[in-house]
């Protein structure tokens, strides 16, 4: 196997990553330093959106570890959190290269209004059903997004997406299985699954909104609206099998892409950033 920078070999397994082969944030940082991967500001801003979504979700999911309903779910949710954190690190490292910042400078020293996460990712975990509802929407959005992004005209975005899409494929399976189980399990689990979807569904709308940035990106990014039909079809098939109805849930106004966040982001950042900010400039 060749050891050179082989961004996103789609034949590599997502679960068995050999050191010389996987795209690590450190490789991206090195490429940026050597000037072989230098995003323009638009690509940087786009990478920030994707990275912030994944980072805030990882932060949320990380809270489940040691609190899950079953040990297997401690492992599964931990895995998903780790995957998301890995994607966040790659996207943020690349985004940072646009402005000469590291992943940690972006994660720990930006203000709330400088984050670009969509509201869905900021929503509290709630009970297990609410977390599954959020995962179900996220995975059905991220899977086609990353699949399409592998065709990006920006080779680094394509490479990050190539690694991410294989992992998100598992997240999709995990959330689908749980939606079916909870909907078809007991009356209690069905009630909770319905309530979870009611809480999370309104935040799906924001994910598919185009704006000036996504228009300017052209072939480097993926137009959010272009993913909507597939999202409707793939979620629709599972919801139909589970006999769940989301048609009545109104869509909420988002704004995360432009720094207008839910009330939930502030406390998430306060907790995440506290130690790093206590010792600015320190190494860890």
């Amino acid at each position: 196997m060749n050891q050179q920078t082989n961004f996103g070999d789609s034949s590599a397994s997502a679960t068995r990553i050999t050191p010389g082969f996987a795209l690590r944030p450190e490789d991206i940082a090195l490429a940026a330093e050597q000037g072989t991967a230098k995003p323009g500001e638009d690509v940087g801003e786009y990478a920030l959106r994707l990275g912030d979504d994944a980072l805030i979700l990882a932060q949320r999911l990380g809270h489940w570890i040691s609190r899950a309903p079953e040990l297997e779910e401690d492992v599964a949710l931990g895995n998903i959190a780790l995957d998301q954190l890995g994607h966040a690190r790659s996207f943020l490292t690349y985004a940072g290269a646009a402005w000469g910042k590291t992943e940690d400078e972006l994660a720990y020293f930006r203000r709330e209004s400088e984050f670009r996460s969509a509201h869905l990712f900021e929503q509290p975990n709630g009970d297990f059903a609410a977390t599954i509802a959020r995962q179900f929407i996220v995975a059905n959005y991220q899977f086609p997004l990353y699949r399409e992004l592998t065709k990006s005209s920006d080779p680094m975005l394509a490479a990050i997406a190539a690694k991410a899409v294989k992992e998100v494929d598992y997240h999709l399976d995990h959330s689908t299985q749980w939606v079916l189980r909870l909907a078809g399990g007991t009356a209690e689990s069905r009630r909770r699954m319905e309530a979870g979807l009611k809480l999370m569904w309104p935040f799906a709308g924001e994910l598919f909104e185009d704006d000036e940035l996504t228009a300017r990106l052209g072939g480097a990014g993926v137009a959010p609206s272009s993913l909507k039909d597939e999202f409707d079809r793939s979620t629709g098939a599972v919801l139909a099998e589970a006999e769940l109805d989301v048609a009545g849930h109104p869509m909420a106004t988002g704004g995360g892409r432009h720094g207008h966040h839910s009330e939930y982001l502030g406390p998430v950042l306060a907790e995440m950033q506290v130690l790093a900010r206590e010792f600015p400039g320190a190494g860890w």
Binding site: R67, P69, D104, R181, G185, L275, W284
Partner: protein, 346 residues
């Protein structure tokens, strides 16, 4: 098969010291015992289908389930810092580590299940406060440096304890330990690296590292269990080739390891009596507060109630999810059976 195992065990002699054999062994049990004794004498492995004395089985269930519980409770003090980890790389490593511990708990519960006890029973005993787990997890993690000290000292002590267990006479336990030890050694290195980074950081970071080493030193030495003259289960465990070295032997080895590695960190151990005794070829250390150990073990440590409460609430809050999964699986199986019946009829 499980029933045979149970029966074989029940009519078998208990620990010879505590319960003399009153009834004659059946021919089957006598053959089983002879085979068991031969396996132990050859230092070979006992497997789940082999006949084994009831006391051996009980002793293993106690040890393996305590070990599994320790992994599960041990997730909490570290999970406490996942959301606050000071860099994304550290966050990622810490998350992976705590996830590994859930995995260790899973293999160990599975190993214990081969002895005829269920994970549900073990979990129920844990949340009811009837099962033990390593006392060290009843101390709080108050600073980031505690992630370093736990990795270096607590996982380090666990490795000293567990490497010999890879050769434990009970096959499923020994094999689970091989995998656990590989991951533990990664955990120890990441802990050491955290401390090294802090020790070479700002004066405040260095002080944070020293403070954590001070707090975790004695509790980590006590992880090896009471001194040899006060360790009721050790002798029998050694005779059965479950345990290979005594508590004090392992503790002394561990102190030697710390004494060398602390120099690389440029920190100090909070014990001025640590020295290598050239005559006994053993590392010596200062007195340990076994009263405190007993207090914490008896449930009066700083975090005992908190740890159990968290496990209990996670278990209870998750009950509806487990019930839903079971109900769904049952419905799926029924549908499957009905579909097969229809196919057969057609």
């Amino acid at each position: 098969m499980a029933r045979n195992m149970q029966q074989g065990g029940r009519s078998a002699p208990r620990n010879a010291a505590e319960a003399p054999v009153v009834e004659a062994l059946s021919a089957e049990d006598a053959a089983g015992l002879e085979n068991f004794d031969r396996i132990i004498a050859k230092d070979s492995r006992v497997e789940p289908r082999d006949w084994m004395p009831e006391a051996y089985r009980r002793s293993l269930v106690r040890q393996i389930s305590q070990h599994a519980h320790s992994e599960i409770i041990g997730m909490q003090p570290e999970a406490n810092w996942i959301t606050r980890a000071p860099s994304l790389k550290r966050k990622s490593i810490l998350m992976a580590k705590v996830q590994d511990e859930a995995g260790h708990g899973l293999y160990l519960y599975s190993a214990a299940e081969t002895l005829g006890t269920t994970r549900d029973d073990m979990m129920d005993a844990l949340v009811a406060g009837k099962a033990r787990y390593s006392s060290i997890f009843n101390y709080p993690t108050v600073t980031w440096a505690d992630m370093g000290a736990i990795g270096w000292m607590v996982d380090g002590a666990a490795i000293c304890n567990q490497v010999p267990l890879c050769r434990a006479s009970y096959g499923p336990y020994g094999r689970a330990m091989v995998r656990v030890c590989k991951e533990e050694s990664f955990h120890q290195r990441q802990g050491f690296e955290i401390l090294l980074e802090l020790a070479n950081g700002t004066p405040e970071q260095r002080a944070m590292a020293q403070d954590a080493v001070n707090r975790w030193y004695a509790p980590s030495l006590m992880m090896f269990g009471p001194p040899d003259d006060d360790s009721p289960n050790s002798k029998q465990s050694m005779a059965w080739n479950i345990k290979r070295f005594s508590n004090d032997e392992l503790r002394s080895r561990f102190v030697g390891m710390l004494a060398e590695q602390v120099k690389v960190l440029g920190l100090e151990l909070p014990d001025d009596q640590v020295r290598f005794d050239a005559d006994t070829k053993k590392w010596e250390y200062g007195p340990l507060d076994w009263e405190e150990f007993k207090e914490v073990l008896a449930g009066r440590g700083p975090c005992n109630a908190q740890r159990l409460e968290r496990r209990r609430s996670a278990h209870e809050d998750g009950a509806w999810v487990r019930e839903a999964a079971a109900a769904y699986a049952e419905k799926q199986a029924a549908q499957h059976t009905a579909a097969n019946a229809q196919k057969a009829a057609a």
